[in-house]
């Protein structure tokens, strides 16, 4: 009787988790495997018919200058935005962790960029940065920082504009995560440091920062993955405009190959490469962090 009950409980468990497993398989495992499979084929994105080409897509990309440029642009974009998000995020979190009048209002305002839909944010920024009629150039010229308007959406500054917009849009995530951890740091640690004569800067480096290590590990990992695969912000900024060439990161290039060249095979190959880059980078990151922990 007991065994029967146990078996039945197992069966019930399997039945209960099977929808979730089915969902994970159909929405996660299957698309990934299909993408890998597709990368070995030459296939039109929408019409039937495909031809097995083995590693030809991979070999083609290795000798393709546009591919290497997209890796370069993607790296510049993700590294610079992550560094700036972390630095600004920690500074902002330190400020709003202090008690001052209107603190709750400032905390709310800080979250604002993160809740605005990307499309709205991009439209707003495009007009702010417009080189002929934009407010940013107007203000910079009014206070004498520049003499001539800057072409923010042109070739020379489009990457800077993209980085500014992305940092503005996503640094609140760092603020939230870091602030949450800061609020749990025991005040006794600061009191002890103060007794030892540590000033605010030493307190930050010797108390706050070590306490933030774990949360920063996760934040850097997540933000790296998200920024390296970021598509909407990058694409919407130019939508195929002339300067698009200068911010053609890997996700944008994969999209173009799939939906503009209609080369689903090459598009999938790019996606697989992106996936592999992320897996390898994450593994290295984990290994480095573990080694540090051991030390």
């Amino acid at each position: 009787m007991g065994l029967k009950l146990k078996l039945s409980a197992q069966k019930t468990g399997i039945i209960l988790i099977s929808p979730a497993i089915l969902l994970i398989f159909s929405l996660l495992v299957y698309p990934v495997l299909y993408g890998v499979w597709l990368s070995f084929f030459k296939k039109h994105s929408f019409f039937p018919g495909q031809k097995f080409v083995g590693l030809a897509n991979y070999i083609y990309l290795m000798t393709n200058s546009d591919f290497w440029m997209s890796i370069w642009y993607g790296t510049v974009y993700s590294v610079s935005t992550i560094v700036l998000q972390i630095v600004l995020g920690i500074i902002a979190a330190l400020i709003v962790n202090e008690a001052f009048r209107g603190r709750n209002f400032v905390r709310g305002v800080l979250l604002f960029p993160y809740v605005i839909p990307t499309v709205v944010a991009i439209i707003l920024w495009k007009w702010l940065l417009n080189n002929q009629f934009g407010l940013v150039n107007y203000l910079m010229m009014a206070v004498g920082i520049i003499d001539d308007p800057i072409s923010w959406m042109g070739k020379d500054h489009i990457m800077t504009s993209l980085i500014i917009i992305s940092v503005w849009e996503f640094f609140p995530f760092v603020v939230l995560s870091v602030l949450a951890r800061m609020q749990t740091i025991p005040p006794t640690l600061y009191e002890a440091a103060q007794v030892d004569g540590a000033g605010p800067i030493r307190r930050f480096f010797h108390v706050t920062l070590p306490q933030l290590r774990n949360v920063l590990f996760v934040v850097i990992l997540l933000r790296s993955i998200w920024m390296f695969t970021k598509f909407d912000t990058v694409w919407l900024l130019t939508q195929g405009g002339g300067a698009e060439k200068y911010i053609r990161t890997l996700p944008v290039y994969a999209y173009m190959r799939t939906f503009m060249y209609y080369q689903a095979g090459l598009g999938s190959t790019l996606a697989v490469i992106m996936f592999l880059i992320l897996i390898i980078s994450t593994a290295i990151y984990f290994k480095m962090f573990r080694r540090e922990e051991e030390i």
Partner: protein
């Protein structure tokens, strides 16, 4: 408590009953799906009115008209075709129509043409969707690209309609001005959009105007030809008189440069822009004394001007549910009284495809048409003299013979080539060689290479 329970049950039953009744009524109707690209409120309203009148006459048909942004359309059509559930009707680029016809995915619209009267349609229009003896695309309206210029400024400088590219460069130089004497340019000679679509349109136009071709009979790209080098050298020179950052300007921003008094000429203007000028330019300037159009110049190897024609055909898809009903809807759409309402929503850009409407007094009585007549005259000149072709089409035979132009447009190969020369100072010979290689790869990949 019991009463409450009863009441809830009654309400529930009533809701369920109405839902079933409503869905049954809807299911009994034949729903035809119509995708179009006229997203402006006036055109949407006109289409809604036409649909309402059509539905009033056909109680068993419901028309679901959906306005889509250009950028979304091609992908949506392709995805719908791949899923086996295409709409009945959709707008599309002429080169998309060519690609879909070549793959056997379209149904003929001969009955619509017959209802309008084949002789009643302008010859230029017929070339867009006619394959063999059948029409697989029928243009909803035609509008050509225009060289818009500030007439007041040009008159002050004594500038004339440029005949050649050298003349245009001269005009652009003359119109690049420092008007307030602070040593800085505040009006640039010329503005063009940096968008992929518009650069492709521009390259098609310039190739035609310079007597060149983009692809030969064997589908091999001809990007390294001397004529293409001339085009790129011309563009490099021209960009000296364009606002900094022009490559980041979209179509609307380019028009903003015009009515915002930051540029004196616009190479890729359209009649649609007359509405923008009326809306945003200072009231005293919103007329042809300030904003007029010139006939476009030709290149050193060409003899005739060339422009692009924006004339998306309606397409009827094979595999749709109600093709007959869709044909009935199109016949109704092109009836003079309905068609006029649609045309009047963007009157300077929508040239009617029917001779009867273009000659009618009702059409000519439209206030905007009276006001911007010069803009229409130039378009009519282009259309009647066969000086305009759809995007990337250099010769009418390209429509049927080069079904890969859609992919060439999407790939951005031409745009990248232009950017390399004008923004990165790459030598035209080097940039064209790179573009040639990319285009050859794409044509080969699509299976059209015959060299």
């Amino acid at each position: 408590m019991k009463m409450q329970k009863k009441l809830i049950m009654i309400i529930g039953f009533v809701c369920l009953f109405s839902l079933i009744l409503g869905s049954t009524a809807l299911a009994a109707k034949k729903v035809i799906h119509v995708w179009h690209t006229e997203t402006n409120p006036k055109s949407r309203e006109a289409i809604a009115n036409i649909v309402a009148r059509f539905e009033a006459l056909h109680a068993d048909i419901k028309v679901e008209a959906e306005a889509l942004a250009w950028g979304d359309l091609e992908g949506k059509i392709m995805a719908a075709l791949a899923a086996g559930s295409p709409p009945e009707l959709s707008h599309g680029q002429p080169i998309t129509c060519a690609a879909l016809h070549e793959k056997g995915l379209l149904l003929p619209l001969d009955d619509v043409v017959k209802a309008i009267g084949e002789d009643n349609i302008w010859d230029q229009i017929k070339k867009v969707g006619k394959y063999g003896d059948h029409y697989y695309g029928l243009v909803h309206a035609a509008g050509t690209s225009l060289l818009v210029y500030r007439k007041d400024l040009a008159n002050k400088k004594g500038l004339k309609n440029p005949k050649t590219w050298d003349d245009l460069l001269h005009n652009a130089k003359e119109l690049t001005m420092d008007t307030n004497g602070d040593g800085k340019v505040d009006i640039y000679g010329l503005t063009i959009p940096g968008d992929n679509l518009f650069i492709n349109i521009l390259m098609g136009e310039l190739t035609k105007a310079n007597g060149g071709i983009l692809f030969d009979d064997r589908n091999r790209p001809r990007f390294t030809d001397k004529k293409m080098i001339q085009i790129l050298n011309f563009l490099k020179e021209l960009t000296k008189y364009m606002p900094p950052g022009w490559e980041g300007h979209g179509y609307r921003e380019t028009f903003a440069n015009m009515y915002g008094k930051k540029a004196a000429m616009m190479y890729q203007g359209y009649g649609r822009g007359a509405s923008l000028i009326e809306q945003y330019a200072p009231a005293n300037m919103a007329n042809t004394d300030y904003f007029d159009v010139w006939i476009k110049p030709h290149g050193p190897s060409g003899t005739k001007p060339a422009a692009q024609v924006d004339e998306e055909p309606w397409m009827l898809f094979k595999g749709c549910k109600y093709p007959k009903e869709a044909i009935e809807f199109l016949k109704f759409f092109y009836k003079d009284e309905n068609y006029l309402e649609y045309i009047q929503t963007v009157p300077i850009h929508f040239f009617p495809i029917t001779k009867s409407l273009r000659k009618s007094s009702a059409y000519h009585a439209t206030p905007m048409i009276k006001k911007w007549k010069g803009w229409l005259d130039v378009q009519e000149y282009y259309l009647d003299n066969d000086l305009v072709k759809p995007t990337l089409v250099v010769d009418w035979e390209d429509m049927a013979g080069k079904p890969y132009l859609m992919e060439i447009l999407g790939s951005g190969i031409l745009k990248d080539m232009v950017m390399e020369v004008t923004k990165e100072n790459v030598a035209p010979e080097k940039a064209t060689a790179k573009a040639q290689k990319r285009a050859e790869e794409l044509v080969k990949d699509r299976g059209y290479a015959k060299w």
